[in-house]
């Protein structure tokens, strides 16, 4: 079998297994909890003063058991959870009963994707270009300054950076509102007001993610460029007296991008986790805020839904990148054709 086909199959297999294990963890963990969600809901109903006779109570209990997939044996619950998860059905939220978890997530997810996708992409592209130049001209002052900048920025956790920005831009210089983006109404439209409001409220969270990610890409690309500049083929290109721009572009950059793509894949889960926490600090209406809501009201199903989705989202993004990679590396793409 061709090596590339083998690679694709093995990647897909490990993707499926990763998602499966992630979902299983999501399923098993709540079972250790002393909370019985049914009792919680029912007690809320009775707390409002409504009276239920024992029969109605029992019927409600059964219905709720059914809705939450808590009937049947452990294995039955497990399989129904898995099959529903694959189709994207994560059940019903306890907090905002009877809203479906899916709806809540569906409202929050686009915001998170917007934030994540734009900042990750832009910081990766800019970071790599800046890192390339910083690495090739490693002795210039500006390269050392950039390295200094990256070192001071990258180790800071996303939420700490978020707090710093809140401090500077919301407290010291009151440019941005201190308390989140309640300003973003849910009427999604293409009006100028809406878009400018989005940009206004997303600016700080985006900046936080952008700056820290930029620091990492600059640092790693710079180090990578320095290593590649010592490679024999770069030295030979210099010996030939080739134009510096060609060497930077086609000899160094091309060869540095490949490991950087692999790095991106490995960093995805970290970037994702950081984004969620940053959203929380800025009350940005994405998954982060949803997570906070789920945590504060112990809404297990919402939690399960968000966690399961996170596992699926990150693994899928990684899979996509991993499948594109062989097309970009000629050593893998044209492996078989020996002359």
């Amino acid at each position: 079998m061709k090596a590339s086909v083998r690679y694709i199959i093995s990647r897909i297999v490990s993707y499926i297994i990763t998602v499966w294990i992630g979902l299983t963890i999501c399923f098993i963990l709540p079972r250790f909890v002393p909370i019985d969600p049914i009792t919680v809901i029912l007690s809320r109903v009775t707390a409002m003063g409504a009276y239920m006779d024992p029969e109605t109570y029992q019927k409600m209990r059964e219905t709720l058991l059914h809705i939450f997939g808590l009937e049947g044996s452990f294995q039955e619950q497990y399989f129904s959870f898995l099959s529903k998860a694959i189709t994207g059905d994560f059940g019903i939220s306890i907090t905002v009963f009877p809203s479906k978890v899916n709806d809540l997530i569906a409202r929050a997810l686009p915001w998170t994707i917007l934030l994540l996708a734009t900042t990750t992409l832009i910081s990766w592209i800019f970071g790599n270009i800046i890192g390339l130049l910083a690495g090739y001209y490693r002795d210039r002052k500006i390269s050392k300054a950039l390295q200094f900048f990256a070192i001071s920025v990258y180790p800071i956790p996303y939420y700490v950076m978020a707090l710093i920005f809140v401090f500077i831009f919301c407290y010291l210089f009151r440019i941005f509102p201190l308390l989140g983006s309640k300003g973003i109404g849910f009427e999604v439209s293409l009006s100028f007001e809406f878009i400018s409001s989005v940009i206004y409220h997303s600016f700080l969270p985006a900046l936080t993610l952008f700056v820290i990610n930029l620091g990492w890409w600059i640092l790693s690309m710079r180090a990578l460029t320095i290593n590649i500049s010592e490679e024999d083929y770069v030295k030979f290109a210099e010996i030939k007296g080739l134009d510096k721009r060609i060497i930077l572009n086609k000899y160094i950059f091309r060869n540095a991008l490949l490991p950087q793509i692999t790095q991106l894949t490995m960093a995805l889960s970290t970037i994702f986790s950081g984004a969620i926490l940053t959203e929380f600090i800025f009350s940005y209406p994405g998954l982060g805020q949803l997570l906070w809501m789920a945590v504060s009201s112990s809404d297990i199903y919402l939690l399960m839904g968000i966690t399961s989705l996170s596992v699926i989202a990150v693994s899928t993004a990684a899979l996509v990148i991993d499948l594109i990679y062989p097309l970009l590396d000629p050593r893998i793409r044209y492996e078989a054709k020996q002359i």
Binding site: I239, D243, P330
Partner: protein, 327 residues
């Protein structure tokens, strides 16, 4: 420098600057290379031959330093003289009149670019707007001469064998008809059969192009097959220069003689002798003749004074107080 010569050095000194002091890899070297010949430089590893070639080509990066002396290059009647003040003048000749084949030829090709594109990079240096078709035509002639298949152009380096890659590097270095081609160990890491092929290729190329090749290798066998004249180096100094046959049959310097004797020969079943001892440190070389500590004929004079390079007969120079042969 008279018209016959294309390259020469005069009291060339190039040292490596380390925190322990200077490593005197090229120490007061003076010699001449003719046009239309294959000039071989040989010696043990660490004798300074690779450093010498780097300096001749102009690859002088710290910690290497061009201390003093002069390199003269005679191109198209014009003489260019290089001292430690104007080393960058050589860079103007790179891949126009002179070219360089580095030591590790296996990995000098960009793994993520097609061979054709790498050639285009070279052509773009002189002709900004040359078309791909023209480039392909020019390369094809060169490839045919080197015995390279046309499909190699559209492949990536990892798809080609070691011998093919080496030939492509040679092609890259000769496609623009340079006057001098420097080759550092052009056949290391290749098996003997492929090695033979590469040597033939170089011989044919030199005849066709009518230019000068400077070949550095420790392998005396290669020099025997390839080089017209040989220069033997030891510990940063020249021992002997002469025509190949003359050197092999009438070696005058004890070191040269020992080097040649250590070569295996068909039919000769006697034990091969290796030279006792090891090369001296170039940081603190011995006084007098550098070889005297290992030389079986050394005398007091050899330990105190440095022997000058003298012409003992026509076109045969030796730096020794007691040469093995005189005419």
């Amino acid at each position: 420098m008279s018209g016959d010569y294309i390259l020469g050095t005069e009291n060339l000194k190039a040292y490596y600057e380390t925190r322990h002091g200077y490593v005197k890899a090229v120490d007061n070297i003076s010699f001449l290379v003719k046009s239309n010949e294959i000039f071989g430089i040989c010696g043990e590893s660490g004798c300074g031959k690779s450093t010498l070639m780097k300096v001749l080509y102009g690859i002088i990066e710290p910690p290497l330093k061009f201390i003093s002396g002069q390199i003269s290059i005679n191109i198209d009647g014009k003489e260019i003289s290089i001292q430690n003040t104007n080393v960058n003048e050589i860079k103007k000749l790179w891949w126009k009149d002179i070219s360089y084949i580095p030591q590790s030829s296996m990995s000098v090709l960009n793994p993520t670019r097609k061979i054709e594109d790498q050639f285009i990079d070279i052509f773009k240096k002189w002709h900004k707007k040359i078309s791909r078709r023209k480039i392909r035509k020019l390369i094809r002639k060169n490839f045919d001469a080197l015995g390279l298949p046309r499909e190699a152009l559209s492949s990536y380096p990892h798809q080609l064998s070691g011998g093919m890659r080496q030939r492509i590097v040679i092609s890259m270095a000769t496609i623009h008809n340079p006057k001098i081609v420097y080759a550092d160990e052009p056949t290391t890491a290749l098996d003997v059969v492929v090695q033979r092929g590469i040597l033939e290729v170089i011989k044919e190329l030199q005849k066709k192009l009518n230019n000068t090749f400077v070949i550095v290798t420790h392998d005396m066998g290669i020099h025997y097959q390839l080089s017209h004249r040989i220069m033997v180096m030891y510990a940063g100094k020249i021992c002997e220069i002469g025509e190949t046959d003359d050197i092999f049959q009438n070696s005058a310097h004890p070191y040269t003689a020992l080097l040649i004797e250590s070569l295996p020969r068909l039919g000769d079943k006697s034990e091969r002798k290796s030279i006792e001892g090891s090369p001296p440190s170039l940081l603190d070389p011995p006084k007098g003749c550098r070889f005297h500590t290992r030389c079986p004929y050394a005398t007091q004079e050899c330990a105190e004074k440095e022997p000058p390079l003298t012409e003992i007969w026509h076109d045969h120079y030796v730096a020794c107080f007691h040469p093995l042969k005189t005419k």
